[in-house]
């Protein structure tokens, strides 16, 4: 058995005294390759056989990582392009592509939904439900009805009288929702104005002055520190002053 624990600088320690000393260049020569592997040589031959424009295209592809990202499987990725050229890989037909697409799956799901909804609603006494009753139902139920109505309308389904009623309810309720949203928005704007009014300096001016000074009184002004508001009292006062002036002129004239 070999003893690996020899002490250093011992006379028995083997050394490389018989090995010659060489220059660095001699070692570097070992790495001085002219030839490449066969795969590389083939690739290079193919590349050099191309026109300069094609060579540039190859380089662009390489730098964009386009051809390189196909290297998921070493070797396979490189050959995909070649096999495509040879026609080994058949392109999927458009119809097959459509059936395997997500769009088709969604359509199928919606169709199933329509059918099951029709089936379910036929077993309900929907004709007895009025809009006011519908409004009293739970939020989730109302949301469901609206969503279903949307899907059904999208597919122009020939619907039963029950479904017609459902549409009517959905659209009526939808309009109401719109009204609520509008009111909420108005209320928000009012609050904003109120807040700005409290925090900013308000200068009351008449419309004439506003036109003369080219001042705006719209919502953009609320972002500034000063707000100009039309003052109806100011208008009345101005009108009175004008009347007095015109009367005065008449007297003088």
């Amino acid at each position: 058995m070999e003893n690996f624990n020899r002490p250093e600088n011992n006379d028995n320690v083997p050394e490389l005294d018989n090995v010659g000393n060489v220059s660095f260049d001699e070692v570097a020569e070992i790495y001085d390759y002219e030839k490449m592997g066969d795969t590389i040589e083939e690739e290079l031959e193919e590349f050099r056989g191309k026109s300069s424009i094609e060579q540039r295209e190859v380089n662009e592809e390489v730098s964009n990582g386009f051809s390189l990202d196909a290297l998921d499987d070493v070797g396979e990725g490189v050959n995909v392009g070649i096999r495509e050229e040879e026609g080994e890989i058949e392109e999927e037909e458009p119809l097959e592509e459509y059936f395997s697409s997500a769009e088709f799956m969604i359509w199928l799901l919606e169709l199933a939904l329509v059918w099951s909804t029709n089936f379910y609603l036929k077993n309900q006494e929907l004709d007895k439900i009025s809009i006011s009753e519908f409004e009293k139902t739970k939020t989730e139920q109302r949301f469901l009805v609206k969503s279903l109505a949307k899907v059904l309308r999208k597919h122009n389904t020939k619907v039963s009288p029950e479904m017609e009623l459902l549409f009517a309810i959905g659209s009526a309720y939808g309009m109401k929702i719109k009204g609520i949203i509008k009111k909420q928005r108005e209320r928000k704007e009012e609050d904003l104005i109120k807040h700005k009014k409290n925090s900013a300096k308000i200068i009351k001016i008449s419309p004439k002055v506003a036109v003369k000074e080219k001042l705006k009184t719209n919502i953009e002004e609320y972002n500034k520190k000063e707000i100009f508001i039309f003052d109806p009292n100011g208008i009345e006062k101005e009108e009175e002053e004008e009347e007095v002036k015109s009367n005065g002129i008449n007297i003088i004239g």
Partner: protein, 212 residues
């Protein structure tokens, strides 16, 4: 038979401040000259003849050219990145930082199996034979050895080739190193003493040894 690019994995091994990176730099300088000659002779695609480095010390940046690649430790798929290149030299300074696990990653094994076909040569740098991963040993056939602190068993276990000769190399290196003081050794830059060892052929070459 002509030597071909794409099968060489050279492990540069030596303790701190013995000149591992300086030697790797010299090899890169030679490589740069070589690729200049090749590119003058012929046209190559833009992923050919590149220098790909993992360079935490920024020791190779001045030797890099347009299109050369810096590998990042944070890039978990650096092997895939390397596989994009052909006929190129990959220098991994302190390679263990890129492979923190004791097991070779699938990506790296893929790289090893494709290296000959894609013409990728590797110069890996490490400071101890202990850090040469067990499965990586089988791929390495050439070593550039500098002064190391390992014991004989460790050294002989991790460096391929005839064991007594390998231990002889280690002792020669250590004896040569001890001939110099720290200052004297630094003055040797970039011609530090090392042994080129071809483990497959049991062939050793002393370089820059004072003791001829």
């Amino acid at each position: 038979m002509d030597a071909r690019r794409g099968s060489e994995i050279t492990m540069i091994c030596g303790t701190n401040n013995t000149g591992k990176t300086a030697i790797a730099r010299q090899l890169v300088i030679k490589y740069n000259k070589k690729r200049d000659i090749l590119e003058k002779k012929n046209k190559y695609p833009s992923n050919y003849n590149k220098l790909i480095v993992y360079d935490p010390q920024h020791a190779f940046q001045d030797l890099m050219r347009e299109g050369d690649v810096n590998l990042d430790m944070a890039d978990k798929e650096w092997e895939e990145k390397v596989l994009r290149y052909r006929a190129s030299l990959v220098v991994l300074d302190d390679y263990k930082e890129l492979m923190p696990n004791d097991r070779l990653s699938d990506g790296f094994l893929k790289l090893m199996s494709a290296r000959a076909r894609f013409g990728l040569d590797f110069n890996m740098i490490t400071w101890s034979p202990k850090l040469i991963m067990p499965r990586l040993e089988i791929f390495i056939n050439k070593y550039i050895l500098l002064k190391v602190n390992s014991d004989d068993k460790e050294f002989a276990d991790r460096i391929a080739g005839d064991k007594p000769t390998v231990i002889g190399i280690k002792n020669s290196l250590n004896r040569e190193f001890m001939r110099y003081t720290d200052e004297e050794y630094k003055k040797l830059y970039p011609n530090f003493p090392f042994v080129f060892w071809d483990g497959a052929r049991n062939k050793a070459m002393k370089v820059n040894f004072k003791n001829k």
